[in-house]
Amino acid sequence: MNDTRPMIEVRGARKFFGPLEVLKGIDFSVARGQIVAVIGPSGSGKSTLLRSINHLETLDGGEVWLDGVQVNQKLDRRSFERHINGVRQQMGMVFQHFNLFPHLNVAENITIAPIKLKGMAKAEARALALKMLDKVGLADKIDAFPARLSGGQKQRVAIARALAMQPKVMLFDEATSALDPELVDEVNLVMKQLASEHMTMVIVTHEMRFAAEVADRVIFMADGAVVEEGSPAEFFRNPKQERTRSFLKKFLNG
């Protein structure tokens, strides 16, 4: 294992939605165990960038690498399907709207991927689910259906579901944006705990305070490009770009 190799590397990422260029050649990398927060106004391309890391969005140009393996390889359709399914098993993703499977209870939501994709035995998978639920503080909800959970609980289950695949990285796409304000903290707490366990994380977020607290590095995007990046301390206290300053000012006043 090569510890100096970046866990995630994005080179020259370009993406068009029709005539609109939403990613204009983005380069960034995330070291093993590093936590990167991506912030920026809506429409800046930050979610598209995150989603292109696990190929939910297909890039029109550039490369994405996960731990030394190119994610968006050129392969024939069948081989690529096999390749990408393997790669995605190594990346957990948490969505803004949770996307729990409503027809499955909490245990099944967490165990379906280990059972069906890794061939894990049911009993072992349930024990794993219990362990993951313990981590997010919801062991008592193991047999509940998603419809019976609050938004914060749903998102914590979604995190447990992603963690059950033992991913190398976790991708968070505005994980708290759809939550009532009083439910944000419980999810943030789980994310902070993951951070303390040195999980490699890319966090797209609107929450400046949380980004400042948890991230090792902050990337500010606007109009499909990286405007500025740095440690939270220098980024928030001493932004160099005018665009960053006006964005932060609006946020702090609003």
Partner: protein, 219 residues
């Protein structure tokens, strides 16, 4: 003029009961097959390659545009001519299954289309391939959402199953007719058959309500 006299009915119960039994057997088999085939058609129409998709669509279009009775005759009387001899019972089940599968497929297709894209993305992000995502995540949810609509189809199927009497199967209506030809008591026995259909419908509705309640929580 004869008055109504239902006291004659029990005497012919063995024959009527047999008809009822065949109605239940044919309807149940056709219902199960029409749901399974409906899911299959919906998946093929949505996801299969054009070589498969367009023939399936043509087939569905033809089945929607022709009467069930004609389809039944084609399968039972028509296919024999080209050497495919299907027994009456199976001809009836196949005709009913395909006829309702086409409607069910349309309902399932709409149900699948209405499903939140986030469900597919969540499954794909865990590493599920396209077909596994459909089988484990998309279809079970789409099916749950379509229980009321498909249930109505199944109630229609139960009643339409009487059409197999046209190829000589002694289901409920045909049995009633046989008894009537012997007793000249059409009113009593048609009413008896009607009451039995109504009873079957009540049972079917209770089953459907049970299924709906069961899936309500898991949606």
């Amino acid at each position: 003029m004869q008055g109504l006299d239902f006291s004659i009915v029990p005497e012919y119960w063995p024959l009527i009961g047999k008809g009822l039994w065949w109605t239940v057997v044919i309807s149940t088999a056709s219902a199960v097959l029409s749901v399974l085939a409906g899911i299959g058609f919906a998946l093929l129409v949505l996801y299969a390659s054009p070589v498969v998709r367009y023939p399936v669509r043509l087939f569905m279009w033809l089945f929607m545009g022709t009467p069930l009775l004609l389809q039944l005759f084609l399968i039972y009387f028509g296919l024999v001519q080209i050497g495919i001899d299907i027994p009456a019972i199976w001809s009836g089940i196949i005709a009913l299954s395909l006829h309702f599968a086409v409607y069910n497929a349309d309902i399932f297709r709409a149900g699948i289309a209405a499903l939140d894209k986030g469900q597919t993305e969540a499954a794909r992000s865990l590493g599920f391939g396209a077909w596994r995502t459909r089988i484990y995540i998309v279809v079970p949810q789409a099916v749950r959402g379509t229980v009321p609509a498909v249930g109505n189809m199944m109630i229609a199927l139960l009643k339409e199953s009487s059409i197999v009497s046209m190829i000589g199967i002694a289901e409920l209506v045909h049995s009633a007719q046989l008894v009537i030809s012997e007793t000249y008591r059409p009113f009593e026995f048609y009413l008896t058959a009607a009451a039995l259909y109504y009873g079957l419908n009540l049972i079917l509705e209770a089953v459907l309500r049970g299924i709906e309640r069961k899936v309500e929580l898991s949606r």
